[in-house]
Amino acid sequence: MTALNRAGWRPEMNAGGADDNVTYTGNRALMLEEPLIFEIGSTETTGVDFDEVAPAVDLGGLARSAPIGLPGLSESETVRHYTRLSRQNYAIDLGLFPLGSCTMKHNPRLNEKVARMPGFADVHPLQPQETVQGAYAVIHELAEWLIKLTGMYGVAMSPKAGAHGELCGILCIKAALEARGEDRRVLLVPESAHGTNPATAAFAGFTVEDIPATAEGRVDLAALKARLGPDVAGVMITNPNTCGLFERDMKAISDAVHAAGGYVYCDGANFNAIVGRVRPGDLGVDAMHINLHKTFSTPHGGGGPGSGPVVLSEALAPYGPLPFVARYADGSFKLIEEESAGDEHPETFGRMTAFHGQMGMFTRALTYILSHGADGLKQVAEDAVLNANYILRNLDDVLDAPFGASGPCMHEALFSDKGLAEGFSTLDVAKGLIDEGYHPMTVYFPLVVHGAMLVEPTETESKAVLDQFIGALRSIALRAKNGDPALKTAPHFAPRARLDETLAARKPVLAWSEPEVAPGAPSLSEIGGS
């Protein structure tokens, strides 16, 4: 393969736009159009220099001879390509990113520096144990913090992300039930739960049933109690919940579930609201995952990697996964794997992942935790909750706050689309925020509220930033209430206008192919190859 057009420029790049001020390149000063690597690179170009080597032999007839079709760029072109792409992204580094239940807080750069120390970054997971005692020490020290912050008995460090942590907790419940010789098949999950909860329960072979909610947005304790019985394995409850409220009856829920022989899984996605101030262990929780990429500031990286350690109660800890780090009296650490499990952890449900989990996230999270300390983490929760309430109470006169009367919110404020003009939706409000220079809030989640808008500012925003955001959202809410048609076509100033998601799903183009057969890019073929 050689590049189709090494200039990379295509005529339709300057198509459309909000006004007649089109440019030849399609660029608009600092807003730069960027082709695909397949359109600017070539298979002969490389940005890495190597010594020449003798051609390979001895491959048993498996030598790869056909072209692969991987474009290369020189280093200078590579840096420019990805730098240009990066500028088409919104990010926390640029401004408020109030995605509810996602906890987009500042990502400290000390964490990045520490994670890149050669003693952490350049260590192989299967090195002899005596050569990685420092790595085990990090895992152990972070584990101790997580246990103490949650008031729990143990912690499984290996889950790779939040949903993987959910799976870990649910498998612990499954293993515990098996050990008791009970075949309970039902997990109760509120309708307001993250989609991962029912998906995880199903992935592990459970049947999912809804827990009804009260009018004030909390679990209906009486209805829950009525449903408990010998077929119920447990509940999966998010606390604080996705309506932004603390589940006041959490302890009573736990007691009732335990009395009926079930276990309590808590989705810890919203732990940022209570870190350092409330310990889930004091509320009777048996298992809870902690998203290190939310509460403990490891970067989201455009969609991962995450990390989802799971804290466990004394009842579930014996069933936790392999491997884990054990500390001995002499101060040395040992990794308990399959071979030593028989002596040290005989009831484990087994391994969930190769190696030991997201070490690169552990070093960052521990660095963050040590920076804040117990006092700083408590302040994190308080400021996060204060910021959310400040938003809620400054906007509930222009936006409907369905649970505004249910008491203070925790770290996120929930609004609905009630009261917007006919034909105007939550989506329009979100797209309007883009033009104002913000990432929109979480939209259409939780499902229990019509046109939900879930705003989570986090503690790392100043009052001045919040005041400006409140002003912007207020202005957009009023435009949506007054039926401003310009809002229907927002965003006007982003790198792209609204994208056709229906077309993407109806005729999926999931990989680049030669332009003659590339739907969605018909004008490419008019240029011809080089």
Binding site: F38, T46, V48, G72, A204, G205, K251
Partner: protein
């Protein structure tokens, strides 16, 4: 505290604005017995950047880094040289501190990168499509087995004995709870794979056959016959690639007809990082795309007709389908996928082929030198950059003795298969472009001393 911008005056003004007399008023829904008044006792308070860095650096120094001496470990995680620009670019705040691209108008950077990543992965693995990545190779492998169950409506998976034992262990854990039947076992110390035996074991209940390529002992084999056997019985062939650099030199599984190809992408861009985060690769034939797990990025146009990218086919996913989703996965490994993609772009096809050739060349050189050590022989007929040495004694203690001499000399089969005494003398040795001729000589000399 340096990460918290609110001042005491701000807090007071904001509490007044929300009608609270103190912060406790906002935590009123927390039952009194669960509310903590002060910081949790027994934990230290906040610390300066200098103090924290000092503490973490002291822990880092307690580890032997791969770069500290001759290094030959692989077995699912490989040490490759990552060009400097990769780490610089992934630290651009617009990549590092962005979220999942749910608002595509202001996430085209991440989305275009994912589209390029998917295209690169599909070409490298020889398939039609690839997703936007999974957690890692081991979890991608299990998801492939689950996907094969959905496609074939059968639930018996045959796992090659050359599959990484951790991958097998993950599958075993999950199968216990999902009712999938796994047929599996440990490898034997033979030069050839068990693929012919697998082909004859396929029956009408078989959903898939899972093979690793190159396998845990470094062996490579042609999977065409196995593909035919799968097709004849309506089973899917899943190929697992833990060293993607190999595919710069040897045929891709897709070229040989594999239905689903999954892998560990750590080799490119990501680094060792003591086991994670890594990046799971997941690719398949186009006809199975709607059964795929994980995020997919697709091309479309915006309201002005300009090309753009969005997350698509999300009706497979948990946030839409809830308990009926194809998987519970909710993230990909975005930043690691970016690192992989940048490294691959820097290499290009020409660079990848050269890198792969250097790896193979270096491995052949190492194998030849190590085989000269008395009592030591090489198991493999064919390999890429990793092979199995047969020692005259158990390899596990040898690894520790080598470490004392400053040589990290591979992964013993005793560590990988502790319960199988028959494998104890095996040592899996990986040799990448980071290994020098001096490193090979040092390894051979140390091994000779240890075995003497």
């Amino acid at each position: 505290m340096r990460y918290l911008p609110l001042t005491s005056d701000d807090r007071a003004a904001m509490l007044a604005a929300v009608g609270a007399s103190s912060i406790d008023d906002l935590f009123v829904d927390v039952p009194a017995e669960a509310r903590l008044d002060g910081p949790i006792s027994g934990l230290p308070n906040h610390a300066s950047e200098l103090a924290v860095e000092r503490h973490m650096a002291a822990l880092a120094r307690k580890n032997v880094a791969a770069g500290d001496g001759p290094f030959f470990l692989g077995a699912g995680a490989y040490r490759h040289h990552v060009p400097s620009s990769v780490d610089h670019l992934i630290q651009r705040g617009e990549f590092l501190t962005a979220y999942t691209p749910y608002q595509p108008e202001i996430a085209q950077g991440t989305l275009q990168m994912l589209f390029e990543f998917q295209s690169q992965v599909a070409r490298l693995l020889g398939t039609d499509v690839a997703n936007a990545s999974m957690y890692d190779g081991s979890t991608a492998c299990w998801e492939a087995v689950v996907m094969a169950r959905r496609v074939t409506r059968r639930n018996k998976a045959l796992l090659s004995n050359g599959l990484h034992p951790h991958y097998r262990s993950v599958a075993r854990t999950m199968a216990k709870y999902t009712g999938d039947v796994l047929v599996e076992g440990d490898p034997t110390l033979e030069a050839g794979t068990d693929w012919a035996a697998l082909a004859s074991a396929i029956d009408k209940e078989t959903s898939c056959v899972v093979v690793q390529y190159p396998d845990i002992l470094g062996r490579i084999d042609d999977m065409s016959a196995l593909v035919s056997a799968c097709q004849a019985s309506g089973a899917l062939l899943i190929a697992v690639v833990t060293e993607p650099v190999a595919l710069g030199l040897i045929k891709s599984p897709g070229e040989m007809g594999a239905d689903i190809v999954v892998g560990e992408g750590q080799s490119l861009g990501v680094g060792l990082q003591f086991g994670g985060p890594y990046v799971g690769l997941f690719a398949c034939k186009a006809k199975y795309v709607r059964q795929m797990p994980g995020r997919l990025c697709g091309e479309t146009v915006d309201a002005n007709g300009k090309r753009g990218f969005v997350l698509t086919l999300s009706t497979r996913e948990q946030h839409i389908r809830r308990e009926k989703a194809t998987s519970n996965i909710c993230t990909n490994s975005g930043l690691c996928a970016l690192a992989f993609s940048i490294h691959m772009t820097l290499l290009g096809e020409a660079g990848l082929r050269r890198l792969a050739a250097i790896n193979h060349d270096r491995a052949r050189s190492a194998a030849a030198e190590l085989a000269k050590v008395p009592g030591v022989s090489v198991l493999n007929n064919n390999y890429f950059n990793e092979f199995t040495l047969l020692l005259p004694t158990a390899a596990r203690p040898v690894v520790h003795q080598l470490a004392e001499k400053g040589v990290l000399g591979g992964v013993s089969l005793g560590r990988l298969f502790p319960e199988n005494g028959g494998l104890a003398n095996g040592l899996v040795v990986a040799v990448t472009e980071t290994v020098t001729e001096e490193d090979i000589a040092a390894f051979a000399a140390a091994l000779k001393e240890v075995l003497a």
